[in-house]
């Protein structure tokens, strides 16, 4: 059994490309070319070079001594927060902008929720001198003003999504509609392991650098490529997909996925898709999603804008359903507390998304000789206002 994607574009029963015919040529062009392009030596060379010199990879695998002492286990942090633009998102946007260039595309569109993927996309578009349009929910534009300013400073046009709930899912809808209207010259840089096949697989492959580095870094430090656990937060699931990728089929390595429970799983304000979701179709993919009995997609809630998505990528739906990964839900309060703890024990202020992953240590006990790798997917600068309000700093 494999937990990776099959030839038809499915992870188990999840995935596929449930798209209107209008999108078929675009998605099919990508499907036919993405593996070929990624295998080209010149692509690999350019991708690797940019990850090294522009993004600053490899990101350190840091042994968190004080955190480890507190929880009497061995905790390593994969420092994606140290990447250029402050999160793992840029690994994917670098890959996709190179892909877009090779496909001859001259216009880039993207969706963004909190603005992290929007900034990472605007960044690589500036780097390559390609026109960039980012769709963002009207409500998020007001909530995330600094990232809107960053995107504009980088030369991107930020278009408000005015439909539906005017947040991430609607920004994604608007980006898809833009792609329908501009099928020839445009590439859509999706920010997570969601959307129609081949997006979940392509994004996972670009993020796979994370687990590839963990393997050799851990070998250097512990003499083994295999941790006992890999922990990552999951919204759409791109940082988790990257951290799991090279361990997917190695069941010696246990995978823990951390979802946002918001104000409590059953509070009506939550984004815990594995618990609250059912199988269905969202943004072209068959996966688990939060919806009404009638199949209308519902609006999730989390204090973390990056986890505030009503579905999960099909890889994660499969990891959940097959039991390969353990899913744990963490509330806003638990996450914020864990973020404060990491700040004061290790001198690292994490993004609130990543704080959810750190809250696992209060929920689950690890053995003293367990090696636990946790993906610190982003830095907390963007969340300072939230931390200030929460802790009355």
């Amino acid at each position: 059994m494999t937990y990776n994607i099959n030839d038809e574009g499915y992870y188990g029963e999840f995935g596929g490309a449930y798209i209107p015919e209008m999108l078929y040529p675009n998605v099919e062009e990508l499907r036919q070319n993405y593996l070929k392009i990624m295998a080209e030596p010149s692509f690999k060379e350019e991708f690797d070079q940019l990850l090294k010199d522009y993004v600053g990879r490899p990101s350190p695998l840091y042994f968190a001594k004080r955190l480890s002492e507190k929880y009497t286990t061995k905790i390593y942090l994969k420092r994606e927060d140290l990447n250029h633009t402050g999160a793992h998102k840029v690994n994917n946007t670098i890959g996709q902008i190179l892909m877009a260039k090779r496909l001859g595309k001259t216009r880039i569109i993207a969706e963004t929720g909190a603005g992290q993927h929007g900034v990472a996309t605007a960044t690589v578009c500036a780097l390559m001198g390609i026109k960039c349009i980012v769709y963002m929910g009207e409500i998020d534009i007001t909530r995330q003003a600094p990232n809107v300013a960053r995107m504009k400073m980088l030369g991107a046009e930020v278009r408000p999504a005015l439909s539906g709930s005017r947040t991430l899912k609607d920004a994604t809808n608007e980006a898809i509609r833009d792609w329908i209207n501009n099928p020839v010259d445009t590439h859509y840089i999706i920010g997570s392991v969601v959307g129609p096949h081949p997006y979940p697989d392509m994004v996972a492959r670009f993020q796979a650098i994370v687990s590839k580095e963990i393997q050799w870094q851990l070998k250097d430090k512990e003499g083994t490529t295999k941790p006992n656990y890999v922990i990552a937060c999951v919204g759409g699931g791109s940082n988790a997909a990257g951290a799991y990728y090279h361990y997917l089929d190695d069941t010696d390595v246990k995978l823990i996925a951390v979802e946002a429970a918001g104000k409590g799983i059953h509070s009506g304000e939550s984004a815990a898709t594995s618990v609250l979701g059912r199988e269905g179709i969202i943004h072209g993919s068959k996966t688990l999603l939060m919806q009404t009995n009638d199949g209308q997609i519902t609006e999730p809630y989390s204090i973390s804008a990056g986890l505030d998505y009503p579905g999960v990528g099909p890889m994660h739906a499969h990891l959940y359903k097959s039991g390969r990964a353990e899913f744990i839900s963490i509330t806003d309060d638990q996450a914020m507390t864990a973020g404060l703890e990491l700040s004061q024990l290790e001198g690292i202020i994490p993004a609130i998304e990543s704080s959810h992953a750190f809250a696992v240590f209060e929920q689950k006990t690890f053995k003293p000789d367990d090696i636990v790798v946790i993906n610190l997917s982003g830095r907390g600068d963007k969340d300072l206002q939230n931390y200030i309000e929460h802790f009355k700093l």
Partner: protein, 260 residues
Amino acid sequence: MTTQVNMNRINQKLKEDKKLLSIYFSAGYPNLNDTVSIIENLEKSDIDMIEIGLPFSDPLADGPTIQASSTQALKNGMTTDILFSQLKDIRKTVSIPLIIMGYFNPILQYGVEAFCKKCQEIGIDGLIIPDLPVDVYNEQYKSIFQKYGLINVFLITPQTSMERIRFIDSISEGFIYMVSSASVTGGRSGFGDEQTSYFKRIADMNLKNPQIVGFGISTNETFKQATQYAKGAIIGSAFIKHLDKNRLSKISEFTTSILN
């Protein structure tokens, strides 16, 4: 009602020696219980076929007008069950072909077979599900649709390859929904040379299924352009805009303005 009768309503209509006008509206809009009244009014106004939109929270292929009517219909309380109960006696008063157009997720949640069975009981003739891919339909759902006498209508666009159009033609059993241009619904205000040559290119393929053009038809002029080569045309956004202004009172004025 037998399968044959169902199959024939769309196919018989397609045999008529005239250009067909089909109208789309979002069920539950403007008001939750307008559905039957709109359908009856449309039939009285010489419309040939009706697409009843099953509202969805995230209509990817639709422009602002249909999005807004869909959102409002959901706010009004429309659900799949309510739509079916509104339509339960529709065949007592309406005889033109009725098609349900909706996105796949609500149908999947209802249960594809249960949905199709219900459609047959009511007298629905076909379905248009833009985000149900052709191959998935072919492999997983075709036999269910056929069992309940439902025609599944597929879309083609100016970007669809000739080879794929031939394939879609081979598995279609009613008509092909020909999307006029690279656009979401309600996106254009007229057709240029590019569309006209696309319409002609498709006509020249001599497909076994007639084509009905949708997206961007809003006036008598665009209706004529669209049907110069194709068998008919579908109007959605423009009709919904008309409903916005006039509610249900002047439906025949709208259809007359298109057909005159």
